[in-house]
């Protein structure tokens, strides 16, 4: 059973992520969860699309596929169908998963393929220079929204619940212990487990929104997250929930019929 340090590809370190980028934290939590699961490195495949987040699969010692933009889930479906005994983990970003790969995402959730999807939602297209993504909060500035984003935000966790994923949760990069436990639960659950991680991007998002320092940005994530149980309680009491907050916690855990289960 490999230890955590063996899951990293140490000869590729230090990685290319900017100072204070949250993707490294998510990579730590994922590899810790994979190590806790007792998986073998040779039986695991990491699949990723295009974007900052998708560079993460290159820093793992396991086999990885760095695929076309938005089609990571399509490639992962192929891997799982050809080799159902493999453990498939998909790293993807918000632009990759929700904008160009939205169609693949809802159908992967509908088919309920046995894999773990980890979405690093940094609320912007980081690699291409800070364009607004479907997950940019309303009123936030970016290269393509110089007067503040006017469109409503895409709630990916609720989308996965509606599309039929077996396990859906959302955490931030501040909640590392909860995130590790959540990824481990997702890996244990048969069927598609979707873990959305709100992650900080001080370089592209923070620079335009007065959160230039990584500490400011991670404190923003901590202060604007609200537990889903508390949110549901407040909704039942009829209280007003601020528009800028997002719910964190376990959204759903159920056992719908699963495709591509290990034989």
């Amino acid at each position: 059973m490999p230890s955590v340090s063996e899951w990293y590809r140490a000869d590729r370190m230090p990685h290319i992520f900017c100072t204070g980028c949250g993707n490294g934290t998510v990579l730590n939590c994922t590899l810790q969860a994979a190590s806790d699961m007792g998986w073998e490195i040779d039986d695991t495949v990491f699949v990723s699309g295009i974007g900052c987040s998708s560079r993460a699969s290159g820093y793992t010692a396991a086999d990885s596929l760095h695929t076309t933009h938005g089609r990571a889930l399509a490639f992962a479906t192929g891997v799982k169908m050809a080799h159902p005994e493999f453990n498939v983990v998909v790293f993807t970003g918000d632009g990759d998963l929700s904008a160009i790969g939205g169609n693949h995402f809802i159908h992967a959730c509908r088919r309920n393929i046995d894999m773990t999807v980890i979405c690093m939602n940094n609320m912007i297209y980081g690699m291409t220079g800070g364009q607004g993504s479907p997950c940019t909060p309303r009123g936030a500035f970016s290269t393509t929204t110089p007067y503040g984003a006017q469109e409503p935000t895409f709630d990916l966790a609720e989308l996965a619940v509606a599309a039929g994923a077996n396990y859906v949760s959302r955490w931030t990069t501040y909640h590392v212990k909860q995130l590790t436990d959540s990824i481990k639960t997702g890996m244990e659950t048969p069927g598609l487990s979707f873990i959305e991680t709100m992650s900080q991007c001080p370089t592209s998002y923070g620079r335009k929104n007065k959160l230039r320092q990584p500490l400011d940005m991670i404190e923003y994530l901590r202060d604007h997250s609200i537990l889903i149980s508390k949110k549901r309680r407040l909704e039942a009491e009829g209280k007003v929930i601020p528009d800028t907050t997002f719910a964190v916690g376990e959204f759903v855990r159920r056992s719908r019929p699963v495709m591509g289960l290990k034989r």
């Binding site: 340090s5 990293y8 370190m13 230090p14 990685h15 992520f17 900017c18 100072t19 204070g20 980028c21 949250g22 993707n23 490294g24 934290t25 730590n28 939590c29 810790q32 990069t173 501040y174 590392v176 212990k177 590790t180 990584p214 500490l215 991670i218 404190e219």
Partner: protein
């Protein structure tokens, strides 16, 4: 066990100063050879994982290691100090 910061990996984001519950990191003041201000220790003997990891047989806190985006924080075995030999010359 001893806590070390790998200066070849650290990019100086100072996230460890926020997440450590024992506040054993603080912002550094000197540049290293890559031009990065690496955080420095402020009383690392307060770290529970350094003291009690062997006793409990598992990692205890590890918030800094999980949070560090650059995988720069790790624990290493501490070398046992050598027994001093005193030679008395007459």
């Amino acid at each position: 066990m001893k806590l070390i910061i790998d200066e070849s990996r650290c990019k100086g984001c100072n996230l460890c100063t926020l997440v450590c519950p024992y506040k054993i990191f603080r912002e550094g003041s000197r540049l290293n050879e890559k031009g990065i201000v690496v955080p420095e220790f402020n009383g690392p003997e307060r770290c529970t994982n350094c003291r009690l990891q062997k006793l409990y047989g598992r990692r205890l806190c590890g918030m800094c290691q999980l949070t560090c985006p650059d995988q720069a924080i790790k624990w290493v075995e501490e070398e046992r100090f050598e027994d001093m030999k005193v030679v008395i010359e007459y």
